[in-house]
Homo-oligomer: 362 residues x 2
């Protein structure tokens, strides 16, 4: 059981390999460019579980295989941590052909990708996402970057990997909370693009939470297919690609407001989707049955559906302030990803008093 | 008297405008993309001279025009300084359409370009080089980046500006030492691509040093034409573009070995060209008359021609160690840009004992 999803981006095209046992299989990496050296970037949690397995497989391909282990958590997605990757590359005399392997979740993938984009102005890299969230979302599509104290993912690059490897075996060691976080990004694909997939999610959410291998394989595959379709049409987010950020405008405000790392990214996105659905309802774009249905699924996935208080005095004001530094904002106007009827998303502004009411009611 | 040189890079094509009085002319910026805000990045030396003039011209185009002033010098081409640009962008709620203007020399241009490449994964930017060196070399071609303690320009991006504006008036305030540094990069274009231009340089080097406007205009124009031709064929330095680094392999070792900022980049490149010419001679690629001719011109430009001692005990060893982290090195082997007959460059390795002898003799 092995699936390949292709991302068509001209000379930056690549494939996503989905299956079990991929990390130990030499064939997985056979198509990569020639080099004498490789650098595996992982974190304290993932490295002890899978780094050795990967390094052994890579040792047959590269003369030297180095390892850098980063601290684990969104709060370490900083320049300081990124710089430890550059230190390792330079200390080991890594050159322009050195291949970087991101072994971990979204934070490791985003930072390794940005390091690959920037080291000597660009070296090849491979995404090996080990969390459900990274397999279905962040490892695909070439968004890389780090956080700035004033905003999430504010510094980065569009930089495509040579290959994405989703080894489903790595999900077996994933804590329940991380599975739920991944489900948020999977649920997302339904309302923005494919209601049949939302139906499927409703009937398989419990199988997914209990780690059913077949259900997980399909959820990863279908998510990657939808993402590949969107990214193939709009690599640098000139328009369409923004719909993948459904739930993220509110979600980023939650993450920044609570402090990075308090809620998982997927948890913030889950709650953010509930808020964005309510805003869609307030603007007359969907009915309340749709909002209730989506909220029920998000809750069944084990995700928070109630907006956290970010400021005791002026909670809505705090949300608005944090959303103004969102990358989609233009000339100070916040732009929201809303559901414009089931299976279809739109990007638009909204009157601030309506947004305030929605925040208060969530 | 106004010249336009075009860089043909498909959807990343742009023009280089060369002339006097361009900073105060609204027409200079008429073709730029629409935005409500602009950020001018300059340094302590250049900002007091030209920032106000530029801001006034831009004020008719953009609702807000912010200014960031960086410290002046290669030793400040660091992440810390770069981050002050991100701070300013975020504090002023700059969005994805904000245009960055690099007003200064190569350091300001490289950092502003990398900031533009990375802020929100890419915003437009304009190069306004105010040094001779930046006008003839670093502002053209999209190489951006910062230094790492272990190597120069090790972190960066290929990212093209929307426009390059070479206002020749800004050269009037340039110190003699900076004019000489710029001449190094101009002299470079002769031996690698155009011996007729080398002839012209020999007969105009004194006019250029004394600030002759017509001579400077032609030197900037011809340099940009040659650079545009090379970059148009090989944007990301897969091959040909490396010849623009003639003198830079030794030059980077000098800069790193002495400490960034001690010698100007152009001074290190001038001396580095003498060393690379001697290595070309040692490998039988050119005759001694060519080396003498080039050395005489570099000296006449007011540039150092004697290699500085980087290590009292093992000087050649120190040079080799520093050159091994050069971006052109592959699997530890240093690759040199050498002159392979007048007007033609090649990229190749060399036996270490030959390189050692050359370093000792320079």
């Amino acid at each position: 059981m092995r699936h390949t999803v292709s991302i068509a981006l001209e000379d930056r095209s690549y494939s996503i390999e989905i299956g079990a046992g991929l990390l130990s299989d030499h064939a997985t990496f056979a198509g990569l460019s020639e080099s004498s050296s490789a650098l595996v970037v992982s974190n304290e949690t993932v490295a002890p579980l899978y780094a050795q397995r990967l390094q052994q497989t890579l040792a047959s391909r590269y003369k030297t295989v180095h390892l850098v282990t980063l601290p684990d958590g969104e709060q370490f997605k900083t320049w300081q941590t990124l710089n430890t990757i550059f230190d390792a590359l330079l200390q080991n005399n890594c050159d322009r052909k050195t291949v970087l392997f991101a072994l971990g979740g979204g934070v490791v993938g985003d930072m390794t990708g940005f390091a690959a984009a920037s080291y000597m102005r660009g070296v090849p890299f491979v995404q090996i996402p080990t969390t459900l969230l990274a397999q279905v979302d962040s490892s695909v599509g070439g968004k890389t970057g780090i956080n700035h104290p004033l905003g999430k993912n504010m510094v980065g690059a569009f930089y495509q990997p040579q290959l994405v490897v989703c080894d489903l075996d790595t999900l077996k060691t994933l804590p329940e909370r991380e599975i739920s976080a991944g489900l948020a990004e999977i649920i997302k694909y339904g309302p923005i693009a494919d209601m049949a997939f939302l139906d499927w999610m409703e009937s398989h959410v419990h199988a997914l939470r209990s780690g059913d291998a077949q259900a997980l394989a399909y959820a990863v595959q279908r998510s990657c297919e939808i993402k590949a379709w969107v990214v193939g049409q709009d690599e640098r987010e000139a328009g369409l690609r923004a719909i993948l950020n459904f739930g993220h405008t509110f979600g980023h405000a939650i993450e920044a407001g609570l402090g990075y790392g308090k809620w998982l990214h997927g948890e913030a996105v889950g709650c953010g989707m509930v808020m964005a659905a309510h805003l869609s309802l307030a603007l007359g774009l969907v009915d309340s049955a749709f909002v209730e249905r989506l909220t029920r699924l998000i809750s069944a996935a084990g995700l928070p559906i109630q907006a956290p208080v970010l400021d005791e005095k002026d909670n809505a004001g705090k949300y608005l302030e944090l959303m103004q530094v969102d990358k989609k904002a233009e000339a100070g106007e916040i732009r929201f990803i809303l559901i414009d009827g089931p299976g279809k998303a739109c990007v638009r502004g909204a009157e601030l008093n309506v947004v305030r009411q929605v925040i208060a009611s969530c």
